[in-house]
């Protein structure tokens, strides 16, 4: 059974850069009809220097600005309200810079290295999104990019919590971003043209970014900030049922919502291939809503969970009600592994001294939600 000690990190701000969404509050759907034809969220970005940034970076920057502002970490002028050293970045993206790599190698083949632009060099390195977000906002704490396959987004949220628990930073901007372009469709084997079974439809891929701010409870109290949800136990295992069982063993409360993994055969509650570990909670399939989201999925799930939990705060007596997020199907779906993460409502955060400043206090092992 979980206690208040389980929540050593909380979510204090959300941002989304997805066509058709007016903001992160819409993440749970449904999407408006024709959402793919809505304004491109990167059009929100202003200023110089955008020309040489890839789509993933621009999507990430749009979502990051909103999340930092929502958390109160930036003011009306965009300036940081906390020391830059106290803020880390963890980005999750599996395909973010595939377009730069593919376009550059094509250019070299056709016209030699002379036809390339040296301005593109930093974008060949897969950390480009996290770095530009840090540069834009002066975030000088630990800066990580996870390219970890289907589980990457949930792994990123957990690494944010670990960076806080280890005392390296007090809050972390977590980004999940994947662009939809020709290179990503090539790598993922997703047709760019209509498919034979349904000539009117082109398979969708997620094209966007979601951001959330993970912060120590002590920091939230010190800033007088409001939080939406708490980050609970996490596990990464070879099998989906094992990952779910591992987090459930540390939180036995009711699962109010299950955000399911992407699955090659689609997920209907709960898919046979995923085993019985997830129980019979109501299923929310964000990949079905937005298209396969790969490294963005876990962050998308956690942001949607925060919206769902925040919407129920104070409305129900059952504080132990949690959202289960799981990504990667592990053995059942031939992914390399599966990750599971529980998120709980704001009321589960202890107000006691057990979640004081992470720089000076050891975080209880149980609260870290072991990575092993």
């Amino acid at each position: 059974m979980s206690t208040g000690r389980t929540a050593c990190a909380v979510i204090t701000g959300l941002g989304a850069a997805v066509r058709g969404l007016t903001g992160p509050q819409d993440l749970l759907g449904p999407l408006p009809v024709g959402h793919r034809d809505e304004a491109d969220p990167v059009s929100r970005l202003k200023g110089r220097g955008l020309r040489y940034k890839d789509r993933a970076t621009k999507l990430g920057m749009a979502a990051a600005a909103d999340a930092l502002r929502a958390a109160g970490l930036t003011d009306d002028n965009g300036g940081l309200t906390v020391p830059g050293e106290s803020v880390g970045v963890v980005a999750s993206t599996n395909y973010g810079n595939a377009d730069t790599v593919c376009e550059t190698v094509q250019t070299i083949a056709e016209s030699t290295y002379l036809a390339t632009s040296p301005m593109m060099l930093p974008a060949t390195s897969s950390n480009v999104v996290a770095s530009w977000v840090a540069i834009t906002h002066g975030l000088r704490g630990a800066n990580l990019t996870l390219c970890n396959g289907p589980t990457s987004g949930l792994d990123a949220v957990n690494w944010a919590r670990l960076l806080i628990a280890a005392g390296r930073v007090e809050r972390v901007l977590v980004l999940g971003v994947e662009p939809d372009n020709a290179a990503v469709r090539h790598v993922t084997g997703t047709p760019e043209a209509p498919v034979a079974e349904d000539p009117a439809a082109v398979p969708e891929l997620f094209d966007g970014a979601v951001a959330l701010v993970v912060e120590s409870a002590a920091s939230v109290r010190a800033r007088g900030a409001r939080h939406l949800a708490a980050v609970g136990p996490y596990a990464r295992r070879g099998d989906h049922a094992e990952a779910v069982a591992a987090v459930r063993s540390r939180h036995a409360g009711r699962i109010g919502l299950w955000c399911v993994p992407e699955h090659p055969e689609g997920v209907t509650a709960p898919a046979a291939g995923l085993g019985t570990g997830a129980g019979s909670a109501p299923v929310h399939d964000l990949s079905a809503l937005y298209g396969p989201a790969s490294g963005a999925l876990g962050v998308l799930q956690c942001a949607a969970a925060a919206v769902w939990l925040d919407g129920r705060a104070g409305g129900r007596p059952d504080d132990a009600e949690a959202v289960l997020a799981s990504a990667g199907t592990g053995d059942a779906g031939w992914d390399d592994a599966s990750a599971a993460l529980l998120l709980t409502g704001p009321a589960t955060v202890s107000a006691g001294p057990g979640t004081a400043s992470p720089r000076t206090e050891a975080v209880p092992m149980e609260s870290v939600g072991g990575i092993r």
Binding site: G84, E85, V89, N94, Y95, N97, A98, V101, C102, T104, V105, Q106, I108, A109, T112, Y113, T116, S117, P118, L121, P122, T124, S125, S126, N127, V128, S131, W132, A134, I135, G138, R140, A142, N143, L144, L146, C147, N148, G149, L162, L163, A165, A166, R168, A183, H186, V187, T188, R236, R237, G238, D335, D336, A337, V363, M365, V368, G370, I371, R372
Partner: protein
């Protein structure tokens, strides 16, 4: 808290294991050679520090980085007595370019590539049964970043043993864009030399097994070195130009975490890429950190022989530092003939190896990457006494 290195493995252009690489470093043997992988007519630069394992010149094959990583992890795991079963051990892999070379081959040449192989967890699961694996794409500081993260996992009691690793191959896109950046094509990596022209990439992989010192070395019973502290930060300044002030902060933090003063550092394994901006930022930061110390710590830059192995470079330097402290022999920075003024006060090893009279006890390892990602580690030599009498009685030497 401190952590011990109980296993090491590495591959690079200058050797197929830790011992061979160090022998090459001591011999001043460089891995520089003619460019093998690509059509040389497309580039002005014609050389790199490649691992020569392609089927024929100009004929490239996918998943080379994955195979090197597999070898390095297998070496380190065997060295630590873990065998091939890493099912209970987190494996953190630092990289700049992942398997993006395979993506290039697939995009332009139609060579089949499975998206699942972009991250290294797929191989690690198949080969070692490892399920808790993380591909950390943190540019050229990536493997020292994973060292910091691995130490944190041990610190937080989230694992008892961790494998941290680094790997990189050369992508054609990065090679071409680097070629576009410099006034003249580099003909070799010449850190801190007036004739430096820029950086050339190297290939390789490296892995280290890490445990809490209080727990002892585990099944392998060997202790190669003690990790005293690892600092990480981000310049938040520029996508490719480093910030000396931020690097200085990272070095100071590494010393603070290690509980040492600048005067305690005997050896600095320089990042030393041979690019003017990197060299100037690093020399400026070290000038600040070691101000007033005469002589300075010994310093050397092994990229002059390995090339810039990118995400693997930080741990490549760390593994070399362990052997330097063990043998008391410091390899030279080759091709450093005419040092720039900024390093005039530094005790840079050049020309040939140096064997100081005094023992080398503490090494600082620098590692900096695109996007201003900095990681600095402090590693300590383990006394011979500790090697003869493993701290943990369960260490059976299997």
């Amino acid at each position: 808290m401190s952590w011990i290195v109980t296993g090491m493995g590495a591959v690079a252009s200058i050797g197929a294991d830790v011992e061979e690489i160090f022998d090459s470093l001591i011999a001043g043997r460089s891995g520089l050679g003619p460019l093998h992988g690509y059509d040389r007519e497309k580039f002005r630069a014609q050389v790199a520090y490649e691992i020569d394992d392609r089927p024929a010149p100009g004929v490239d094959v996918p998943l080379r980085a994955t195979r090197w990583l597999e070898r390095a992890v297998a070496q380190a795991a065997a060295d630590a007595g873990l065998g091939d079963d890493l099912s209970e051990v987190p494996v953190l892999v630092g990289t700049t370019l992942r398997e993006l070379r395979s993506v290039e081959l697939s995009w332009r040449g139609g060579i089949p590539f499975d998206a699942a192989d972009l991250h290294f967890g797929t191989m690690l699961r198949h080969r070692f049964g490892a399920a808790d694996t993380h591909t950390v794409a943190n540019a050229c500081s990536a493997s020292l970043y994973t060292l910091a993260l691995g130490a944190d996992l041990l610190d937080l009691d989230a694992a008892d043993t961790v494998v941290v690793a680094g790997v990189d191959t050369i992508t054609e896109s990065t090679y071409g864009l680097l070629d576009r950046c410099y006034a003249e094509a580099p003909d070799r990596v010449r850190p801190f030399d007036r004739e430096r022209r820029g950086m050339l990439q190297g290939e390789g992989a490296v892995a280290v097994v890490l445990r809490r010192e209080a727990d002892g070395p585990g099944p392998g019973s060997r202790v190669h070195a003690r990790v005293r502290g690892v600092a990480v930060n981000c310049d938040a300044y520029h996508s490719s130009a480093p910030d000396a002030k931020s690097i200085t902060a990272a070095v100071h933090e590494a010393h603070r975490r290690a509980g040492v003063r600048p005067a305690d550092i005997d050896l600095v394994m320089l990042h030393g890429t041979g690019t003017p901006l990197n060299d100037e930022a690093e020399s400026s930061a070290l000038g600040t950190v070691f101000a007033g110390l005469s002589p300075s710590p010994y310093m050397t830059a092994i990229k002059s022989m390995t090339g810039h192995t990118a995400g693997a470079s930080g741990l490549h330097s760390l593994v070399a530092a362990v052997d330097v402290m063990r043998t008391g022999t410091i390899p030279p920075t080759v091709y450093l003939d005419d040092p720039v003024d900024a390093v005039a006060g530094f005790r840079l090893v050049r020309g040939g190896t140096v064997r100081p009279q005094e023992p080398l006890r503490l090494a600082q390892i620098d590692s900096f990457g695109f996007g201003g990602l900095n990681a600095v580690a402090v590693v300590e030599r383990v006394a011979d006494e500790a090697l003869r009498h493993p701290m943990h009685p369960e260490g059976g030497g299997k």
